[in-house]
């Protein structure tokens, strides 16, 4: 029965995807057939792209597939600052996200640990966290640019500031809600503070901490696109904005798809780690 559910859901997924592609294909063809008549001389003057009435035609699934294939076969070319392979752009974005995220983890997890261990610190820091948490990370961008004076580091800072809160809050919560009986076991065994932190509290809180990390990386990947659109230069966000300026809708659609896939992979990696540290009770 389980196998048949998996089988049927796969069939349904494929069917839905096929339906979507066909609808997309038909929809695009309909739009293209109604192309506005343009003065041929004007068309010659402004170039081929504008010949369809000043509007780039919406690409069909076949155009996008061709572009994806082109990017996949040659992802790492560099032909100048505004023409780099999509693999290179993704690598830039990933490097920023990972730098910001790992820096945030290196600070948030130990700090969250201390906050979770002490009810006094927990309460003292709570109002700050509550105020800082809902701030859109992009709102920090001007301040970052002004103080850091480096657009690349500023975008990393924005990733840092957006990924720190879920990890901080989850770590503190996970540490504060370690079952009392487990702590009592450690106490009756006269386990020292440091050993207790690593052998009882950390494993007990690990699933909650990993969940925080998973939320953080999701947010970081959402924010990097917008941050790179602002700072420019490199990265998948800049790529999307650049292709918008080029009016290359196929490239934009390709990039959107890739952003989704990379985001999913990041999420799945952390989901895998979460599964490793989760314990059944």
């Amino acid at each position: 029965m389980i196998r048949s559910v998996a089988f049927r859901s796969t069939i349904l997924s494929i069917a839905l995807f096929a339906l979507f592609v066909i609808a997309w294909h038909l929809g695009v063809q309909q739009g293209a057939s109604g192309g506005a008549a343009v003065d041929p001389e004007y068309a010659r003057l402004v170039g081929a792209a504008a010949a369809t009435g000043g509007q780039t035609p919406m690409p069909g699934p076949l155009d996008v597939a061709a572009t994806i294939w082109r990017h996949f076969t040659d992802p790492f070319y560099v032909r100048g600052t505004n023409d780099m392979g999509i693999g290179i752009q993704l690598a830039y974005s990933l490097a920023r996200v990972l730098t910001g995220f790992l820096t945030a983890a290196a600070i948030a997890i130990p700090l969250g640990f201390l906050i979770g261990m002490s009810p006094v610190v927990y309460r003292a820091l709570d109002p700050f966290i509550q105020i800082l948490k809902p701030i859109s990370p992009l709102a920090w961008m001007p301040l970052a640019l002004y103080t850091i004076r480096d657009s690349a580091i500023s975008s990393i800072f924005v990733i840092f500031i957006c990924s720190i809160w879920p990890m901080l809050i989850n770590t503190a919560f996970g540490v504060a809600s370690v079952r009392k009986e487990w702590l009592n076991v450690a106490r009756t065994l006269e386990v020292g503070h440091l050993r207790r932190a690593f052998t009882v509290i950390l494993p007990a809180a690990a699933p909650t901490i990993l969940t925080g990390m998973r939320i953080s990386i999701g947010i970081a990947w959402l924010v990097i696109v917008a941050a790179e659109m602002l700072v420019g230069g490199t990265g998948i966000g800049y790529f999307v904005w650049n292709e918008w300026n080029n009016l290359s809708i196929t490239n934009i659609v390709t990039a959107i798809l890739l952003i989704g896939i990379v985001g999913m992979i990041l999420d799945q990696i952390l989901a895998r780690f979460t599964k490793l540290v989760t314990y059944p009770e």
Partner: protein, 306 residues
Amino acid sequence: MSEKYISIEGIARRFPSPDGGVTTIFEDLWFAMKRGEFVCVIGHSGCGKTTVLNILAGLDEPSTGVVVVDGKAIEGPSLDRAVIFQSHALLPWKTVMGNVAYAVRSKWLKWSQAEVAAQAQKFIDLVHLTGAEAKKPAMLSGGMKQRVGIARALAIEPKIMLMDEPFSALDALTRGSLQDEVRTICAMTSQTVFMITHDVDEAIYLADKIVLMTNGPGARIAEIVENPLPKARQRRDVHKHPAYYPLRNHIIDFLVSRSKSFAAEIEALRGAGRPYDPRHPPVARPGIPEPTIAAPVEPFRVSAAG
């Protein structure tokens, strides 16, 4: 003083109550245990049994009074006093071996990996869990989990075992076989055991002395019942001993009626010229001809009852 291996001296536990006053869970408890003695505490929920055990474990502190173990007042938890928790409290991310070895490692920090594993294995075998070493607690039955808890407590070779209703969550058959094992192991290692239970038969089967506590708040030790059954009792014939039912009835009578009305009993004792002395609670030996209620050795003024 060598008589008193554990000496509970006038402990009380008070909490601020929601209405601004003070709630006293129990007060002025005095009680001593000899080395190698098996003591069960019986009383209704809320009389502070678990708090007494936590104070003995060093996990909790009395509001007043002290507990002296082996000539030293308790200051926090110690590896000399192992606790078997009601909820077994195994670390769910560790295997059976991991849980027992964790305790062994905590006691002997300098031991090699092999020494720790050998000590843990010895006690896993002792509680008949050989073969389940690599299992996580979630894969074990309730009885097996509690066996791991027992192995973990025994593996650190404690001087005292503290058990908080260790078998209450188990079915009757499993409970019976675990009681047998605990009895055998404790006799073998001549452990000093302090155990809380709700089960009268369990107390009769296991204990040398049974401490009866009155209902809380303001709980007291009403009586210490000395078990008249022979030390080498067997499960198959323990209930045929002539003293078994008098003893059982005595404890059940206490639980059903006397535990509630003990304040009136204190008054009656005072009226009879044998005032209740919290330092020397009456000792009973039901089932033995002419059950003697030991009079206080020296006259003490009874503090205002209640």
